[in-house]
Every structure is written in structure tokens, then in C-alpha cells.
């Protein structure tokens, strides 16, 4: 019975991890940019959800589309006017600049909104239902369902729409894409915008479960790495699979080994996977 509860807990949270990593995997896969500021985008999404809830009473699920739209615009501009400038630079320079962006974002938020803990607590926050001995909090279930909807929607966009095709073309064969008339700078910006929008959505959902602070992003960036690498960089399905795997692994290790283990395990997993199978669980060999 305990094991089943632990499994359910892991799956519910794992879905959210997957959504978090989806955005990072997309940006990495298409533009080869490892976005260290990813967690900061999640944090921004969380704060937006918080302010919409606190100032105007918008239910966090209802305000999610707004958060997604705003983060998309922000991400688009960030890529178009800043990151597009260093796209062809050495890899570690792009890593470095996103570090800088992260520090700037976090500190601006700190100055603007202080480091006080924020929490989004709608009236239904503590409600739960029981199914055969398993307790499931409503919010966690709805968060999970939302991540499923968002992930599926995103995958459909990528597979079925013209925009999605353009994005995939740009990522696979840049020169051919250019020759085909695809406006690369614009597509890159849209891609980053989508990644940021996904991160923002994940942030809004995260904010319903956990406290919001300016520095919440750092750990989430690392978690997203683990998930993205675990699943296989650049593969969207991989992010989702990786998220579930990590969520379940954390849940079980916290319960049966002790609460101080989950983090060590996730980072250890990261290093191990990179050494043993860098393409991840789902990725194809040779695409590293």
C-alpha cells in the first residue's frame, strides 16, 4: 500500500518534471543552446501566476494561458535580441551568457519583489480524495492532467503544424532550411519563446504546489538537465519519460532510503548517464 502511494506520488510530480524539461530539451535540440536561465523562466512563470492570483484573484489554472503567453513573448525577445547574437559562438560561451541572464533575472526579481516566500493557495488547496487506501490531493492530480494536456498539445504543434515543421527543419539542416526561405532568426526566436512558454507553464503549476522565491530556479534548472539528459537530449518524448523516471526515483528514494537522498541520486544519475549512455534512455545512439 505504501509502495503504491509512493508510486502515485512519483508519477504525479514526474509529469511536472517532464513539462519542465520539455522546454529545455526543445531549445537544446534546435539551437544547441543549453539554457541555464531555464529555472529563472520557471520562476518567472510562478511569480506571474502568484501576482495574478494575489492582485486580481485569478484562479491559477485559469491564469495559466496568460502566463504562457507572457513568457512566450519574453522568450521570443530574449532570443531575438540577445541570444541570436551568440548562436554561432563556442558552446561554452552560450552556456556562460545564459548564466549571466539567470543572475540578472534572479536579482532583478529579488530587488523588485523581495525574497519573501510567496505561495498560491486557492480555496481547494488542501482538498484530497481517497481511492482504495491511496490519498490523492486534488491539486496534484489537476497539475498532472494539465501537464499531460500541455505536453500533448506541444508535441502536436511540433509534429503537425507548418511552424513545427519549420522548427524541425531548422534544427536538422540549417543551411537547407535557409535555402528553403525559412527565416532562421525568427524561427529561433519562436522556438525559444515556446521553450520559455513551457517553462512558464511549469512554473505556474509548480507555484501551486510549492513556495515561490527568487532563487527557486537554480535547483529546477539542474533537475531539468537531469530529466532532459536522462530521456535523451533533443527528444521530446525523452523529456516526458525522463521526468516520470526521475519523479518515481525521487519518491522511492525519499521514502525508503531517507529524505536526504533524492538530490544526490538525481545528480549521481546525471553523471552516470552521461558517462554510460549520453544519448539517454530514449535518444538514438550517435545523436550526441
Amino acid at each position: 500500500m505504501l509502495a503504491l502511494q509512493v508510486l502515485i506520488n512519483g508519477i504525479l510530480l514526474g509529469g511536472l518534471y517532464g513539462l519542465m524539461a520539455l522546454g529545455m530539451s526543445l531549445i537544446w535540440g534546435v539551437m544547441n543552446i543549453v539554457n541555464i536561465a531555464h529555472g529563472a523562466l520557471i520562476m518567472l512563470g510562478a511569480y506571474l501566476t502568484f501576482w495574478l492570483f494575489t492582485l486580481w484573484g485569478w484562479d491559477p489554472f485559469v491564469s495559466l494561458p496568460v502566463t504562457i503567453a507572457l513568457l512566450f513573448v519574453y522568450g521570443y525577445c530574449l532570443q531575438r535580441y540577445l541570444l541570436n547574437l551568440i548562436v554561432r559562438a563556442q558552446l561554452f560561451l552560450t552556456l556562460l551568457i545564459t548564466f549571466g541572464v539567470e543572475v540578472v533575472m534572479v536579482n532583478l526579481v529579488r530587488v523588485a519583489w523581495s525574497s519573501d516566500l510567496r505561495q498560491v493557495t486557492p480555496a481547494y488547496a488542501g482538498a484530497h480524495f481517497k481511492v482504495g487506501g491511496i490519498t490523492v490531493p486534488y491539486v496534484r492530480l489537476w497539475v498532472f492532467l494539465t501537464t499531460v494536456i500541455l505536453s500533448v498539445t506541444f508535441l502536436l504543434i511540433l509534429e503537425k503544424t507548418r511552424l513545427g515543421r519549420a522548427i524541425r527543419a531548422t534544427s536538422e539542416e540549417l543551411r537547407a532550411a535557409r535555402l528553403a526561405g525559412i527565416p532562421v532568426a525568427h524561427i529561433y526566436a519562436i522556438t525559444f519563446g515556446l521553450g520559455a512558454a513551457l517553462a512558464g507553464a511549469a512554473g505556474g503549476l509548480w507555484g501551486m504546489l510549492f513556495p515561490i522565491t527568487p532563487i527557486m530556479g537554480g535547483g529546477l534548472t539542474l533537475k531539468s538537465f537531469v530529466v532532459a539528459v536522462l530521456g535523451g537530449l533533443g527528444t521530446m518524448m525523452g523529456a516526458i519519460v525522463g521526468g516520470l523516471v526521475l519523479g518515481i526515483a525521487e519518491s522511492f528514494s525519499a521514502t525508503y532510503l531517507g529524505p536526504t537522498y533524492p538530490n544526490a541520486i538525481s545528480f549521481g544519475l546525471l553523471v552516470l548517464i552521461l558517462i554510460v549512455r549520453p544519448t539517454g534512455l530514449v535518444g538514438r545512439r550517435g545523436s550526441a
Binding site: N9, R110, T121, H128, T135, P137, S251, P259, T260
Partner: protein, 405 residues
């Protein structure tokens, strides 16, 4: 070649500028109390209590004529930095306070985890530090001479709670111990294990968690399956808040839940609302205790002044912080001079009644003071148990979440 010389002289000028600009001007007739306190970061909530407490105490003392040294009245001045809840930054800031700002004396930071390294600085430079934010015995068992603390020993925090639990009808049989991987909480846990054994309560769960933990669901799942009568949580306020919320969502309701930090604080009760009901907390100080002294005639008067000025209820953190400033007044006046060593000696032999109670430091530098077990009832703190005596009626067992009004 000329450009390079420009570079070099620029660098040198910058270095000189730093070297020179780093010395303050000390005004006469002023005693500067310096501290780095957590105004941002994970301890920001608690840190604010100390900033406000220090401020109120300093202003009250100055209004009452300041501190008399050798017959001359001196004004107290505060110099505060923000340590961002980071012990490393704290060490740097305290070093700066002593070496660069050249303050007279030091007030402590919040949390044992930060006080342990910060007190190394005060010891190194032989400047007294009086702190009211760190309770771990580890602060005081290094043989340091310059650190004094007004919080009673962490190892004793859960003693009253566990004794009270053993006296309940029906008796508490099993307990879960949960604590943060930090100095204070580990000390509390060490003591708790001893008290549980003494009271013959079965420990069914004993786990440490990372301070940054926000997700207690796995822990709660285990607690649900083990179903302990008593849950003891040692962590800081953020942890307590998260734990309660998630316990509510996971439908975990033990018969008795005690937190080290949270319940005595008005902010905690306000944030949680109804969810805070029936939780127990621990405090060495309550505003309606019959205590008082110079500057603040009674605990009640102090609490009122504080509430009027800052708009929130004073708790024991606040009282402890104010007491720290007060003891400097008494110690300095007793010593008659501002020399750190003499003031240190005066502190060591101090025995005085204050708004916080009787302040007398043991040989280790830590105060010896009893704790009161309180329960939140109707949003208010009700003293339930202390010093082997039952003080009030507790609601026991705690009603399950679903059965609350």
C-alpha cells in the same frame, strides 16, 4: 605604451581607493552595536524579528538616557548588514564590522548554523557577541569566551513536549522525529531522542531532511503508513508551513504535532489560518508572563510597544533580541568602560531581571531558561505545560483534518 600605463595606474588607483575608503569615522559619545542579520533568504522571516527588536530596544534605551559610561551618557547606534541567510557571507560581514567598521560590540545573527561560524569571528578578534538567535549547544561547547546567548539550549527544546505527551490520556505510545540538516535542528533531535527514551515512547521514524526541502509528500506517505501518535518537527518556519499544508493534503493527522519554529509566531498562525489549529509550539517567553525590568517594566508593556510600532505580535525571538541589546547596557554600565575584555567580564557575571525574564549566563555563555509548551487554540497561544506542571487544557487528540469545523 601610454595606454598600458593608463591601465596600470588605473588599477593601482582602484586598489588604493578600496584601501582608503574602508575606514569609517567613529563619532564620539556613541556606542556602535554591529550585526549581520538575515534580511533576505530562507531566514528572512525570522531575521526581521531581530532587526525590529534591536531597533526598538536601542531607541528605548536612548530615549531613557542612553548608556552611562564613567558618568557620561552615550548613545547606542546600530550598524546592520544583510547576510542573506548565508553563513559564509555572515563571516565576511562580521569580519568587516570588526576590522573595517570598527564597531564596539556585536549582536548575533539568526540561526545556530550562522551563529557557529560568526562567533568564531568575535572570538578571533576578542569582541563580545551577544546573540538571541542560536540555541544549539555546539555554539557554546568550544570553550569560547566572547559568545553569549539568550536562547536556552536546543537539546532541551522538546523536553516539555515529550513529558507532556507521556502524561496524555490516552498515553502517547509512538513518535516520529523529523529534523532539518542544520546545526540547531540536529541538536534538538539529539536531545529529543534522549527524552523519548526517558519517557519510554517508541520512536518509529527518525529522519533528517535537507533544509531546502519543499516537498514532504514522501515523508508524509511513510508517516501515514506508520501512524505515529506524536510528530516532532525541527526545522525553520518555511519547513513548518510546507509540512502542515502538505499534511493537510495528504490527510495525515497524528494525535499531537509539535514544531520547534512557527507556532509562537503571529505570522505563522495568520498564514495558515485554520490549518494551524491544535498545533503545539515551544517558547521560553510569553507576553503575559510576570516578568520585567529596566527600560521595559513588563513583558506586556514591551509586547504592546512592539505591536504598536511594527504592527505585528512580538514572540520570543523578538524578546530575546531586545534582551541582547539590554544586557549590553547593563554590562557596559557595570564595567564602567568600553574596553571589550572588561565588558566581556561584566557580561559573564551579569544577573539581571528583564522583559525577557532573568538573564544570567552559565559558564559556557548560554542562558539557562525553561521552555513552555503552547498550543494554538482559536489562533491564540495557550500555555499547556512547563516545569513539570500542567498549565492549561490542551485539545488532545488533534481532530483529523476532515473533521474540523
Amino acid at each position: 605604451m601610454r595606454r598600458r600605463a593608463l591601465w596600470h595606474s588605473g588599477l593601482v588607483a582602484m586598489l588604493i581607493g578600496i584601501g582608503i575608503g574602508a575606514g569609517p569615522a567613529l563619532a564620539a559619545d556613541e556606542i556602535v552595536l554591529g550585526s549581520a542579520i538575515s534580511q533576505t533568504g530562507k531566514y528572512a522571516r525570522e531575521g526581521k524579528f531581530y532587526v525590529d527588536a534591536y531597533t526598538l530596544a536601542v531607541d528605548a534605551i536612548n530615549k531613557a538616557g542612553g548608556v552611562k559610561v564613567g558618568g557620561k551618557p552615550y548613545k547606542l547606534v546600530l550598524k546592520l548588514y544583510d547576510d542573506q541567510s548565508d553563513p559564509n557571507l555572515s563571516v565576511r560581514l562580521f569580519t568587516r564590522l570588526v576590522t573595517s567598521d570598527k564597531v564596539n560590540f556585536l549582536l548575533g545573527p539568526y540561526s545556530s548554523g550562522i551563529t557557529i561560524p560568526a562567533s568564531s569571528v568575535s572570538e578571533k578578534y576578542e569582541v563580545p557577541m551577544v546573540q538571541g538567535g542560536g540555541a544549539s549547544g555546539k555554539i557554546f561547547d568550544r570553550g569560547y569566551k566572547y559568545i553569549f546567548g539568550t536562547l536556552p539550549k536546543a537539546e532541551f527544546y522538546f523536553q516539555a513536549a515529550i513529558e507532556a505527551a507521556a502524561k496524555r490520556e490516552p498515553r502517547v505510545q509512538t513518535a516520529a522525529l523529523l529534523y532539518s540538516n542544520e546545526a540547531f535542528d540536529r541538536s534538538v533531535a539529539e536531545g529529543a531522542r534522549q527524552w523519548l527514551k526517558e519517557q519510554r515512547i517508541d520512536k518509529v521514524y527518525d529522519e533528517e531532511y535537507q533544509p531546502a526541502t519543499q516537498d514532504f509528500t514522501s515523508i508524509l506517505a511513510v508517516l501515514k503508513s506508520k501512524n505515529p501518535d506524536l510528530v516532532l518537527l525541527a526545522g525553520h518556519e518555511e519547513n513548518s508551513l510546507n509540512f502542515i499544508r502538505q499534511a493537510q493534503a495528504a490527510d495525515v493527522s497524528p494525535k499531537m504535532m509539535v514544531f520547534t519554529v512557527g507556532p509562537p509566531t503571529g505570522d505563522f498562525r495568520k498564514t495558515l489560518g485554520k490549518a494551524a489549529e491544535y498545533i503545539y509550539g515551544i517558547t521560553p517567553w510569553l507576553p503575559d508572563m510576570e516578568i520585567g525590568g529596566e527600560i521595559f517594566k513588563s513583558a506586556r508593556e514591551f509586547a504592546k510597544q512592539f505591536q504598536d510600532r511594527f504592527g505585528y505580535e512580538a514572540d520570543y525571538h523578538v524578546a530575546s533580541g531586545a534582551a541582547d541589546v539590554l544586557v549590553y547596557k547593563f554590562a557596559i554600565e557595570k564595567a564602567g568602560v568600553l574596553e571589550p575584555k572588561k565588558v566581556r567580564d561584566a557580561l559573564a557575571t551579569l544577573d539581571v531581571e528583564t522583559l525577557y525574564g532573568r538573564v544570567k549566563f552559565e559558564a559556557s555563555g548560554q542562558i539557562a531558561m525553561g521552555q513552555v509548551l503552547v498550543q494554538i487554540q482559536d489562533g491564540k497561544l495557550v500555555p499547556v505545560y512547563a516545569f513539570g506542571k500542567t498549565l492549561g487544557k490542551a485539545v488532545y487528540p488533534m481532530p483529523a483534518w476532515g473533521q474540523r469545523k
